[in-house]
Amino acid sequence: MHSVKKKGFGSNLKESFFKNLFKISGLLTILTLLGIFALLLYSAVPAFKEIDLKEFFTSTRWDPTSPEEPEYGLLSMLVSSLLVTAGALFIAFPVGVAVAAYLSDVARPKTREIFKPVIELLAAVPSVVVGFIGITLIGPLIARVFKMSHGLTALNGSILLAIMALPTIISISEDALRAVPQSYTEASLAVGANHWQTLIRVKIPAARSGIIAAFMLGMGRAIGETMTVLMATGNARSFPHGFLQSVRTLTANIAIELGEVPYFTTHYYALFALGLVLFLLTFIINLTADLIMEKQKRKLL
């Protein structure tokens, strides 16, 4: 602190300026989050003047422009979102953790130096491109393997989202594995365990909370993805009964309908209500992941 004071008034001013600048930036982020939440809430509430809350949460039929009787039920879309996400994690989580273990424990430093940036590059592939791969490559493949006439199914979405969630899962799991103190490994090897046993029985359990956080963040990534599922899953509104069916997720539905909807109508507000549900869902998932990671940090310190 002394040395700073010696530099005189100008330097002090500069320091407090930047301190405040960063503080304001931080506050701005929080304000933005609160603002988004407030806007969603404000735009979602009027929907329930006309829509029955029970219908909204328990009906499987979403057809706001129906000439017979409009209905606003989110259940099919919510289950579709969860189904596609669950499928994605079922594929991406084991693969992701395996790759993370390989990178942290098996791979030589040189190999690791090549693998890491390549995996991170995977996260930079635009979702439209991933969706396009789903339409032209994975979809037809699914159709052929399962002897169906088309491949625009939940499974298609799951495979694509797995690809997109992989970088998140790998990167965070690997950080967690590398954060396990060297002494754990040394102790394990000293009592006669081999590398494999050390990895499976000592390191992965020690990094458990970080790996769970990777799982949660991968889930958050998958559930919020829009363009890819919009292109790849066929967007049928029916209630999903399996992975080989066309489904429409919450995100896809909002993307499809928000552009067309006349402003300030029940349909418009209802889409914001869907957005609010999605926001709360991802917020809870990310918050849980954060809490778990925080816990791991404290434990390892």
Binding site: G234, N235, S238, S246, E260
Partner: protein, 308 residues
Amino acid sequence: MLNKKNIKKMKGFVQMVLVVALAIFSLIQPGLAQKKMIQIKGSDTLVNLVQILAEEYMAKNRGAAIAVLGGGSGTGITALINGTCDIANHSREWKPKELDLAYEKGVRPRIFAIAVDALSIIVNEKNPLETLTMVQVGSIFRGEIKNWKVLGGPDQKISLYGRQSNSGTYAFMQEHVLNNKNYSPEVKEMNGNAQIIEAVTQDVSGIGYVGVGYLYDESGQVRKGIKVLKIKKDENAPAFSPLDKEAVYSAKYAISRPLYQSTNGKPSGVAADFIRFELSPEGQAIVEKEGFFKIGQELMEQNLKNLK
């Protein structure tokens, strides 16, 4: 003598001037462009046709700039109501709710029919069926007929492809073919006519509906991989194909419809001139070349009245 510090300062100054100049320029530029740029937005069925009309028009009138965007009829009409486009393309009529909203916001739509479309029902080329009745098409898309076997085809589950609810084609189909009943929830909702064609090409048990202009490829041939079904008005009527010009012009083909453009109030300037071009014999020749149909006498008279 210039020392290093001064050079640095000068460099900094020049950089700052450049940044400020760039900022000012970028502020002014869209303002300049907006003066002449006409924004057209809406129907996916119309987007290719209007794009080609706009290109022809711009080739003749240097200085006029027209941007054509798709998105769906509902999107176009909403954009016109919200004041974010100059001309809305739509393949269905205005809904009463939309008109109410427009009047509430001070928007007074003027509607022009610029072409006629024959809504076409397509299946995969491997499908043995050739004709369907209107009632059958309705039942298929309502989800009442679920297997091709019922219609004399192979024992395959029917795989439905349609448009999203912001599409005018979706709305037109629902009103005129489904008799205002709900679509089956099994319909896979695609993002545009081209995507439906692509999907039906790949799907042996697929069926979909598209605007007639999308049936042809660049060389004017009907696209490979699809079969355009002939439609009967009812059980006893003869079947007609949307590819049969005479049948569409004489209204023997059962599902044809005008395609529209709307402006807010009487169009003026480039917008008016462009609409006049679309309605001219030259414009209508392009309409026909792109696979759509010319508008009839009655609609044309209505159009000209709306231009005045």
